[in-house]
């Protein structure tokens, strides 16, 4: 049986020291332990940070909101402030995964979780993202893969909450134990073209302490399409927010990164109130660059539907048909 070293960090210094020795962070452990059990993550040393209570909680600060790295998905889903000021954010996670997972999964772990590509998740497939030579999704079952090509690997980004954070231009605050670091979430995630092995820029010796949302949007909505209503990631989702006369339209689960639909944002422009027609045009613009694979063409249609619906929902409109 494979054994591994286990430590518990009590403070930032301790954690930084552990990271210096090559320890891997375990927050909720949902993703990390799964990856270890499947023998895809071969970490030999694990440091739990769940004892670092200062990393937990949601606070209003400097006109924005700071969410501690260890705040769980359910704490976010239940938060009254967020529910009022930025309803799309709790909406992204209130039905994610399962109730049990949401009680332990953390926001930092969520945005850092590894892709769900099932070739990647099986030890027997040595794919590009591991050390192999081929992306098995190209010739294999690619129903759940990217519909926007961004390099040789065709993962989709699995985080539900990331698109909401991208929409409002959140800052990821990290630390190496000495100095605070800050990353703009809008260029935090890496496409396979930028890096085949990593999905984000966080270096191994740093840890996230909080996510800071500088400003709450005036309007926001989240819409998803799921195959299963529990225990599953969406087939397509969209967050739309409106602030300072600008829309942010972010697609999730359809591309290797949370995808900013700039063409769609251009279509809606400054207009605060969007009607059915404009929403449809924006939706069409959003999927203009989509290039589905053999089995996932239908998800282009779903991507279109979630963009249209998110815009209408953000404007308080019914979107049934």
């Amino acid at each position: 049986m494979r054994s591994f070293g286990y430590a518990e960090a009590e403070n930032a210094q301790g954690l930084a020291a552990a990271l210096g020795k090559g320890y891997r962070i375990k927050a909720g452990g949902i993703d990390l332990l799964d990856m270890m059990k499947e023998r895809i993550d071969k970490s030999e040393r694990i440091v739990s940070i769940t004892g670092m209570t200062e990393l937990r909680g949601i606070k209003e600060r400097d006109g924005g909101v700071a969410i501690g790295a260890l705040t769980t998905l359910n704490e976010i889903a239940r938060d009254e402030t967020l529910r009022k000021a930025f309803p799309a954010l709790p909406d992204t996670v209130c039905n994610a995964a399962t109730p049990q997972v949401r009680e332990v999964a953390t926001i930092a772990g969520n945005i850092l979780q590894r892709p769900r590509c099932w070739f990647f998740r099986q030890a027997e497939y040595n794919c590009l993202r591991k050390s192999g030579q081929a992306c098995y999704a190209v010739a294999g079952d690619n129903t759940y893969h990217s519909i926007y090509p961004m390099g040789a690997c065709h993962i989709t980004h699995p985080s539900n909450i990331a698109p909401a954070l991208v929409a409002v231009g959140a800052q990821i605050i990290a630390s190496d134990g000495k100095n605070p670091k800050s990353y703009d979430i809008r260029d935090f995630f890496l496409t396979p073209e930028q890096d085949l092995k990593r999905e984000n820029k966080l270096p191994q010796n740093e840890f996230i302490t909080e996510i800071f949302l500088p400003k709450m949007p005036e309007k926001s909505a989240y819409v998803e399409v799921k195959e299963k209503q529990s225990f599953d990631w969406p087939l397509a989702a969209c967050v739309a927010t409106y602030a300072d006369k600008k829309w942010s339209i972010i697609l999730a689960h359809v591309a290797p990164v949370p995808l900013r639909a700039t063409l769609a944002e251009n279509v809606v422009g400054e207009k605060a109130d969007i009607d059915e027609n404009l929403a449809l045009q924006a939706a069409e613009a959003a999927v203009k660059t989509a290039q589905p694979m053999a089995y996932n063409g239908f998800r282009v249609h779903l991507a279109k539907a979630v963009v249209r619906r998110a815009l209408l929902k953000a404007c308080g409109k019914d979107f049934h048909a």
């Binding site: 049986m1 494979r2 023998r39 769900r116 099932w118 998740r121 099986q122 030890a123 027997e124 294999g140 079952d141 129903t143 759940y144 399409v225 799921k226 195959e227 299963k228 209503q229 529990s230 225990f231 599953d232 063409g297 239908f298 249609h301 779903l302 539907a305 048909a321």
Partner: protein, 724 residues
């Protein structure tokens, strides 16, 4: 050649009247599951929970091609191979897995007939090293083209049944309507994967495992190792679900574990992870049916011409009987003056398909039920009305020649289902293509083995007194989550006239329990339960009113055993494949209500209503559990469970991309039992295990067709197909 109309049997005397439960103490009561507390508190021991210090961990090297020959197997030099136990075909005393036939090798001996076919077994104390070692073995093959489509390969089995002058009926018919219907494979996704632990002591073999049928495993071990009966003990551990998936497949696994244990002289654990289990184990047979019917303008059925084709995979396994159960349900609960039924199972280079809840009947019933709805639409008639005009009744003859000697009461089941679901109002209100649909299916399912199957099985059941003044039921019928461990004590307590708390259920192990047959075919509660009832009755007679505790103290254990006796008058002709296919049928009506998102085509089954006659209900909560679980499985098969086949292999052998419904997706399920008891079933019960799997598929696909104004005739019916 079947000779039409030649076989006739006489109508049996009316069934004796049976108590419906009012005067019964335990039967008909929702007694708490006997093994329930152990399961929810984590005390129950599944095979993987068994501690085996010093045991070896086994793993299987499988073929990566579907068809061809093994040219060379090479072992990488960096592994200390002498520390591993390695087994190949030469180590098997008789390299065949005995099921109905014995065509399947235990391990490939040069020829590969399907992907994931076992080639080598390897074991070591360190499971991590086994993984590494497996990856350090290279197999070179000489590939041959495989066959992956139904109808292209050799015929594995064929049945033809005829009744009446069907040619004349078709020639004279006012309306002839035909269609083609397809169903996909389905994975069982039992919650516990397959696993066995094997050890040898003094030429005697003991295996512990997850299984439905201890004596099937026993038989297969005996054959492969050339052993005597008493050299083998097969012990069932707490088993996390089966659904047919642990009917035939565990025999292969048990032999593998025993081979490694024999060669190493150690205890060996061979327990699959989910991916290996899904890739290598059996699935539901995919099917293609062609149905042609003749009827009058007002929908009175005159004849059916049903051609039923299924994919058997690379070896025979249980396919002949799956095909048979499929074809003897293909005509549905309707009266046909004439019929031609043709069934063929084909070899392909897929891993062998196997038993799965319903055993061929869900496939053929999907075809006939989807066809009945399409025919009603063609005639401009309500699909409920078309069915009502054609239901079978007592005294009518089925296309198998079986004269119905029970009251199917399909009209009453239909009326109640329509009422419960408010079918008429909804059907009138919901326009075709408007995103909402309601439709139905009406069907039956035979209790027990088909034809003379139960006679050949000759099941035996034992019951013994215990020291504490109670009784112990001894059967090889297993608890696999469905309630055997509870309903048998209920039946025994009732028949013995002692308290339920005094009746225990002996964990099946072949050294101890008699062979009560396999835990399959909707037979456990009704057929085996009847034997429990009889055995308990016999024991009661022997005790003649004596206090059991005192009797035990004086005489030791009192044990009674009974054997199956067929119901008088039941005749089945194996050559002509005609006669009474089953002693009794369970009858059912399903109404499905669905909503489809008009933009994304995402379906939702809102409500599934079932009115059901499964005879006397022994335990209402457990019977509801069977119905609800089977319906949920039917919803999955119809709407999302898509086995993606690549060279015959399930490519999506992972729960990430093989989607099954969760409790949040299962519909509101409404079940109402309307029992008509069956004299030969325990306290009047009939089969309930498989029936619920039969109806949801066609009812849901028809409702989706209404909601989307479409004409689909296959399942699973996926949103992406409805979008096109």
């Amino acid at each position: 050649m079947p000779m039409s109309g030649e076989f006739k049997e006489k109508i049996l005397a009316p069934l004796m009247s049976i108590s419906t439960g009012k005067d019964l103490k335990f039967v008909g009561k929702s007694i708490l599951r006997k093994e329930g507390i152990d399961k929810v508190t984590g005390r129950a021991r599944y095979v993987d929970d068994v501690k085996t210090p010093g045991a070896l961990y086994g793993k299987t090297l499988r073929s990566s091609i579907a068809c061809g020959r093994i040219k060379k197997i090479s072992f990488a030099p960096n592994i200390p191979w002498d520390q591993f136990t390695i087994v190949d075909a030469r180590d098997v005393p008789y390299n065949r897995v005995l099921q109905i036939e014995s065509d399947q090798p235990v391990l490939c001996d040069g020829v590969v007939l399907h992907r994931e076919e076992p080639i080598l077994l390897i074991a070591h104390e360190d499971p991590g090293l086994v993984e590494t070692a497996i990856r350090s073995i290279t197999v070179e093959y000489e590939r041959e083209p495989g066959i992956f489509n139904i109808g292209e390969g050799r015929i594995l089995k064929q049945y033809d049944i005829e009744e009446g002058d069907w040619k004349k009926e078709f020639a004279a018919a006012e309306v002839v309507f035909e269609g083609e219907y397809k169903t996909g494979a389905q994975e069982h996704v039992y919650i516990e994967t397959n696993g066995f632990i094997a050890c040898w002591e003094d030429e005697c073999l003991t295996v512990h495992g997850s299984m439905q049928c201890p004596y099937y495993v026993h038989k297969a071990l005996k054959y492969a190792f050339k052993l005597q009966d008493d050299q083998i003990n097969v012990v069932q551990m707490t088993t996390g679900g089966g659904f047919g998936g642990k009917e035939d497949f565990p025999s292969v696994l048990a032999i593998h574990a025993a081979l490694l244990a024999k060669k190493s002289g150690r205890t060996v654990r061979l327990i699959y992870d989910r991916a290996e289990d899904m890739a290598s184990s059996t699935k539901r047979h995919p099917s293609i049916s062609k149905v042609r019917t003749a009827c009058t303008k007002d929908g009175i059925l005159r004849a059916i011409d049903f051609s039923f084709h299924i994919d058997g995979g690379a070896y025979i396994t249980l396919s002949p009987v799956v095909l048979s159960r499929g074809i003897v349900h293909a005509f549905g609960p309707y009266k046909w003056p004439a019929a031609k039924l043709h069934a063929q199972c084909f070899f392909t280079n897929s891993p062998p398909y196997g038993a799965f809840r319903g055993f061929g009947a869900p496939q053929s019933l999907f075809a006939i039920e989807a066809h009945m709805t399409a025919l009603a639409n063609h005639l401009g008639m309500d699909p409920a009305e078309l069915r009502r005009r054609n239901f079978i009744h007592r005294g009518d003859t089925m296309p198998t020649g079986q004269v119905v000697d029970e009251d199917p009461n399909m009209e009453a089941l239909l009326d109640r289902a329509l009422e419960l679901s408010d079918y008429k109002t909804k059907r009138a209100r919901w326009k075709r293509g408007g995103g909402k649909g309601i439709s139905l299916s009406t069907f039956m399912h035979g209790t027990g083995f088909t034809g003379s199957g139960e006679v050949y099985l000759a099941s035996r059941v034992g019951i013994a007194t215990t020291k504490d003044g109670g009784a112990e039921v001894r059967v090889s019928s297993t608890e696999i989550g469905q309630g055997t461990e509870t309903v048998f004590p209920q039946i025994a307590a009732e028949a013995l006239g002692i308290d339920i708390s005094k009746v225990s259920f002996r964990r099946p192990e072949t050294k101890v329990v008699p062979n009560s047959g396999p835990t399959v075919a909707s037979r456990t509660c009704s057929v085996v339960g009847k034997l429990v009832e009889r055995a308990a009755g016999k024991l009661k007679q022997r005790l003649a009113g004596a206090d059991i505790r005192q009797h035990y103290a004086q005489h030791g254990e009192a044990y009674e055993e009974v054997e199956y006796v067929p119901r008088p008058g039941l005749v089945w002709d194996d050559d002509k494949y005609k006669g009474s296919a089953y002693g009794a049928y369970s009858w059912c009506v399903n109404v499905a209500e669905v909503t489809v998102d008009p933009v994304t085509a995402m379906p939702r089954v809102d409500t599934l209503t079932a009115t059901v006659d499964v005879g006397t209900i022994i335990n209402p909560v457990l019977a509801h559990g069977q119905m609800e679980g089977g319906i949920a499985q039917g919803i999955g098969w119809a709407t999302c469970e898509n086995v993606v086949l690549k060279e015959g292999l399930m490519e999506n052998h992972h729960l990430t991309n093989y989607v099954i419904p969760t409790s949040a997706d299962a519909a509101r399920i409404v079940v109402e039992f309307m029992p008509s008891p069956y004299s030969e079933g325990a306290f009047g019960s009939k089969g309930v295990g498989e029936l619920p799997m039969d109806g949801p598929g066609p009812a849901i696909v028809s409702a989706l067709n209404d909601a989307m104004e479409a004409k689909f005739t296959h399942l699973p019916l996926l949103p992406e197909e409805m979008l096109k």
